[in-house]
């Protein structure tokens, strides 16, 4: 890729992720975060909260599987044992309660995991994910209509889905991916590195955790799988649908939260391709191979040898001379000083 | 300090331990005689164990020398053979001979009539076998006859002994007087024993209640109504087999609560019972979650994988050369009672490949070794008389 092209892509896509994570311009009303045990969404959710705090967005956390409110959350709605309708009511009430304190016009609704809701027996057949989610974005009532709401829904990819009520209905995951304007798949950086390293050697990329399909293995993550402290971070595989309909696909990396202060306002996400571990900067090719021996044989030719080789007239040139059948085809070669001619063996 | 450790081991349940623990609460403890027939303390930790009726199966049960009281053993079998059924029959027959109360679930009374006939205490048979290993083939054969003769006497003595000398302590040194722990049986004969009529058959009759609830209630009632010292054996052949059980019984919410209740029943203080369950793996593969849960609820899990072509070897070969027979299948121990519950490991038999051989009079489990190559086998067969002892030496 040409350098100009790269830098264009860099600025463009970095601007996009910055906009998405900071919820500017309601770039994406519904973001779907697909995580797994190998890379849970917690760091990304915390990043969402951090940025929302910075820009004073009202945060509602709908907890299906979290017990304690995360730090920085304005309203915490425990969805345990609640029906979808009750959840919607509680979420809407949370904002009207909270809005009295501060006139923030934007709100962020985080759902820590949608899987329990999709699995729950109490949700009846009429439950519809799309209407459930859209009721957050477009709440009924005139007062709330001015609010710009963004919804970030986490879906655990590795939790198996319940059997579909009807074989003709789409699965919840395909439903969610269809509805979402932004889909962020999460990968562990160390796994991405390990897989890239394998691919670079044309090996089968390794799999981790549940994909290993080992008896008794749920998680394969280890802190320092390749003994590399800096291989921390979350890789975001972003798929964004613009309003124009155009899609953008880009890979980013979110560094661990310990690397920057919580009030840091600049963009911390970088393109995966720009990470030095993923794509090490190409070192200039100076004096290639001069220092280290590559082989005990000298495979290269000196200039003189090359000249001599070019000077050899190959047999088919001689054969084309038209001396008649059976003639020609000799190797025409002028002996050099280093050639050791053997009368008995060699013949010309 | 090693003394203390043993004491701790001893206190893990059962009647003997109850009395040792000096708990006035344990109702059965004072009355429990030291020498309940067919029950002996485990050499490993002293918990009471009972024999499965198959000496070599007793030996692989994690060093306890038998099935510890209160434990369930799940025997799984691949294919359509009925090796597991043979194990069950030995188990039931052993219970009959030892005057244990045997409960048979889901089988008609013919099943009880087909129990294998008694040969004698397995110790005698084992002694004979040990000698046979060391001696020449001919002598070994003679000993075998002798042993069987003696064993027959001892075996006939056992039932009378059980009623009479209950106060005889197990610590009594002389092996002659000690009642046999395990017996040998002959599959081709029929067991005749006075207490065979006491088999408790629990039929699978449809009723308003769920089937397994009925079974559990009847088991519970039968155990509750028997004298407190009775040792019970619960035999459940071919669980979930659709020819015996109604289809809805293979629902997890039907069979798993049953197994759980069974486990609870066996773990009830004061109840001295063991259970052996067989399940056809062909219908319910191990790779399904249901079977895995059945295994998780059971204390011991062994799997029988018969070799496909060795079934006819059983018919042609005589019992006399039984220990030279080719193995008829592989036996895998997936879980052993007590050992795995504690965390596994540390058993000398763990990691061993087992092969089993069923002959007329024994179900033998021994370490599996690959047979010699095909071509070699003919040569061996030709040179049987001279080579036999050496081969036996090599094998053990």
């Amino acid at each position: 890729m040409a350098p100009t092209n790269t830098s264009h892509r860099q600025t463009h896509n970095l601007l996009l992720i910055s906009k998405l994570l900071s919820l500017r311009d309601t770039a994406s009303p519904l973001a779907l975060v697909l995580d797994s045990l190998e890379q849970p969404a917690t760091p990304l959710i915390k990043e969402y909260i951090r940025r929302a705090k910075l820009s004073k967005v009202h945060i509602t956390f709908v907890a299906f599987e979290t017990l304690k409110p995360l730090e920085g959350v304005d309203a915490f709605v425990a969805a345990r044992k609640k029906s979808p309708l009750e959840i919607i009511k509680a979420v809407n009430a949370a904002y009207t309660n909270g809005s009295t304190s501060g006139p923030s016009r934007r709100r962020l609704i985080l759902i820590d995991a949608i899987n329990p809701l999709l699995h729950a027996r109490r949700t009846d057949a009429h439950f519809n994910v799309s209407s459930f989610l859209s009721s957050f974005l477009m709440p009924q009532g005139p007062a709330a209509s001015k609010v710009e709401a963004s919804l970030v829904v986490t879906f655990h990819q590795d939790v198996p889905s319940p059997p579909l009520p009807s074989p003709y209905t789409p699965s919840p995951l395909s439903m969610l991916t269809y509805l979402a304007t932004t889909i962020i798949r999460l990968h562990s950086f160390s796994h991405i590195l390990a897989q890239k390293a394998a691919r670079d050697r044309s090996l089968v990329p390794p799999v981790f955790g549940l994909e290993e399909e080992l008896d008794g293995v749920l998680l394969g993550r280890l802190d320092k799988p390749i003994g590399n402290e800096s291989a921390q971070g979350v890789v975001l595989e972003l798929e964004h649908r613009r309003k124009s309909g155009r899609g953008v696909l880009e890979w980013y990396i979110l560094p661990p939260a310990s690397r920057y202060p919580p009030q840091y306002a600049k963009e911390i996400v970088t393109l995966l391709d720009d990470h030095p571990l993923y794509r090490p900067p190409q070192e200039p090719d100076f004096g290639a191979g001069e220092e280290e021996p590559e082989s005990t044989f000298e495979l290269r030719l000196t200039d003189r040898q090359r000249r001599d080789r070019e000077g050899v007239v190959l047999p088919y040139f001689d054969a084309q001379q038209g001396d008649g059948p059976g003639e020609g085809g000799r190797i025409l070669y002028d002996m050099g000083e280093e050639d050791d001619f053997d009368e008995e063996e060699d013949e010309i | 300090m090693s003394f203390r450790k043993r004491n701790i081991g001893l206190s893990t349940g059962g009647d003997r331990t109850g009395s040792v623990n000096a708990s006035a609460q344990s109702q059965q403890a004072p009355a429990a005689p030291e020498s309940t027939p067919g029950v002996r303390p485990s050499p490993d930790d002293g918990r009471p164990t009972t024999s499965t009726g198959t000496p070599s199966l007793d030996n692989i049960l994690a060093g306890h020398g038998g099935l510890p009281i209160g434990k369930t053993l799940l025997v799984e079998e691949n294919g359509t053979t009925d090796f597991a059924g043979a194990l069950l029959r030995y188990y039931a027959a052993e219970g009959v001979v030892q005057d244990h109360r045997v409960h048979v679930v889901g089988m008609p009374e013919q099943w009880g009539r087909s129990l294998p006939g008694l040969i004698g205490p397995a110790d005698a048979v084992d002694d004979k076998q040990d000698k046979r290993k060391g001696e020449r083939m001919k002598i070994a054969w003679r000993y075998e006859r002798l042993g069987e003769f003696g064993a027959g006497i001892a075996g006939s003595r056992v039932p009378t002994a059980t009623s009479g000398d209950q106060s005889q302590p197990t610590a009594d040194g002389s092996p002659d007087k000690r009642p046999a722990f395990c017996h040998a049986f002959d599959l081709t004969k029929r067991l005749t024993h006075p207490s065979i009529a006491n088999l408790n058959y629990i039929p699978l009759t449809p009723s308003n209640e769920p089937l397994f609830t009925t079974i559990h209630k009847r088991l519970d009632a039968a155990i509750a109504s028997s004298p407190p010292n009775t040792v019970h054996r619960i035999v459940i052949p071919s669980l979930l087999n659709p020819t015996i059980y109604p289809p809805e019984s293979s629902q997890p919410d039907s069979v798993l609560p049953f197994l759980h209740s069974l486990r609870a029943l066996l773990n009830t203080p004061g109840v001295r019972a063991t259970a052996m369950i067989t399940i056809p793996l062909t219908l319910f593969p191990r790779a399904t979650g249901l079977v895995r849960w059945m295994e998780l609820i059971s204390d011991g899990v062994i799997e029988l994988c018969p070799f496909p072509h060795s079934a006819d070897a059983l018919a042609t070969s005589g019992a006399a050369t039984s220990h030279e027979e080719p193995p008829q299948g592989m036996l895998k121990t997936h879980r052993l009672p007590v050992l795995h519950e504690r965390g596994g490991g540390s058993d000398q038999n763990v990691g061993q490949d087992w092969a089993f051989t069923l002959s007329r009079r024994r179900f033998e489990i021994k370490p599996f070794s690959l047979p010699p190559a095909e071509g070699d086998k003919e040569g061996q067969d030709g040179a049987v008389p001279g080579n036999m002892p050496k081969k036996a030496d090599l094998e053990f």
Partner: protein, 380 residues
């Protein structure tokens, strides 16, 4: 005598000083059961208060808070836990008397009602405890082997002599015996016995709610509060150990209105009452992977729900301790592999100092015959 320390050094950071409202998932397989590890959690929590010398070490880390444990076991009875804890030097019966430990029996009567045997069906506190709950001498072992021959006499009472006032008759005493436990009305302590037996009655989530209430009552009783409230400022921390609650899910199933979500919510409900929760789950291959998308067959509901519950719990866990068999097959000096991984909820709370010592690692373990456990790295 165990040659190994009760808490292997490699294991110690993971079993002691659990962060508040945390969930530890302990995943096991058929051949690698986690009871030894569960016992280590019991030991880490209870030992500080039962023996004085260790209290100096562990007590400081707990900020002087008293650790109490409620053990809810669905697959194993009281007798097993009592005997196994004894091998570690924990006298659960005595701890029960001292109101530091409570056992909730999810085995005996979960699916079947109380037994019909009149001798075992008992109502009062004193008799609900199994007979052998009566503490046997921990300090001075009776030379049992030597006494055995004389034991055939129907009188074990002489041996009881040396242990005075510990029998069930003395249960009225324990309440005053507990020195620092918050004083609860003694009347209520009569009703809730040291061993609570769970019984699943009814169908669906209502049945689970009932179980939750029962367990919550035990927790409340133990922590000395009249009503079960969320964990507040108190001088005791209750650790809840759930031993294989996945049995409930497997044995009921979606057909009865109990699925993975209901189970998760049930566990969450229980978590609210206690300081920290340890839960053991089966993670056998058929139970986890049959339901995955890569499976070739249609998964059964049992498999789907179990996988959803187990994986969902791992998502909710701070720490996942995974036990499995050795990949290369069974060995004589290795019982299995322990892999410690951070769960999905890792890092949600910001108090990194409490769990800063947690580091993901994989180690081998070996359970000895005497109950001692050694945990070691590969090649050590």
């Amino acid at each position: 005598m165990p040659t190994q320390p009760p808490l292997p050094p490699l294991l110690a950071p993971y079993v002691s000083s659990l962060p508040p409202s945390s969930l530890i998932v302990l995943s096991t397989v058929l051949g690698a059961q986690g009871n030894w590890l569960t016992l280590r959690y019991l030991y880490a929590a209870l030992n500080a208060s039962s023996t004085s010398d260790a209290a100096l070490i562990l007590g400081e880390r707990h900020n002087g808070k008293k650790q109490k444990v409620v053990l809810v076991s669905f697959l194993r009875g009281w007798e097993f836990w009592r005997a196994e804890a004894k091998r570690l030097g924990l006298d659960l019966a005595r701890l029960t008397d001292k109101r530091q430990f409570a056992f909730v029996d999810g085995l005996s009567e979960l699916f079947s009602g109380p037994r019909t045997t009149p001798t075992t069906t008992t109502t009062t506190t004193t008799q609900t405890t199994p007979p052998s709950l009566v503490p046997s001498p921990r300090g001075g072992p009776v030379p049992q082997r030597t006494i055995l021959p004389s034991r055939s006499a129907p009188g074990p009472i002489p041996a009881r002599g040396p242990q005075p006032a510990r029998g069930p008759a003395a249960v009225a005493a324990p309440a005053p015996l507990t020195p620092s436990a918050p004083s609860a009305p003694p009347a209520s302590s009569r009703e809730i016995g040291p061993v609570k037996r769970l019984h699943l009655s009814g169908k669906g989530p209502a049945a689970l709610d009932r179980l939750e209430k029962d367990i919550a009552a035990v927790v409340a009783h133990l922590s000395g509060r009249a009503t079960a409230t969320a964990e507040g400022e108190d001088d005791s921390e209750v650790l809840l150990v759930l031993d294989q609650p996945d049995l409930l899910l497997a044995a009921t199933g979606p057909g009865q209105g109990i699925g993975a979500t209901e189970m998760t919510e049930w566990v969450m409900g229980l978590q609210q009452y206690v300081h920290a929760t340890v839960m053991t789950l089966a993670a056998d291959l058929p139970l986890i992977h049959n339901a995955s998308a890569a499976a070739h067959q249609m998964p059964t509901p049992l498999e789907t729900e179990h996988a959803a519950f187990a994986i969902g719990s791992a998502h909710r866990a701070h720490l996942v301790m995974q036990l499995r068999d050795l990949d290369t097959g069974a060995a004589r000096d290795v019982s299995g592999v322990l892999r410690v991984s951070k769960g999905g909820a890792w890092g949600q709370s910001d108090n990194t100092d409490a769990n800063g010592s947690w580091e993901e690692k994989e180690a081998l373990y070996f359970v000895q015959r005497d109950g001692g456990v050694s945990v070691f790295g590969r090649g050590e």
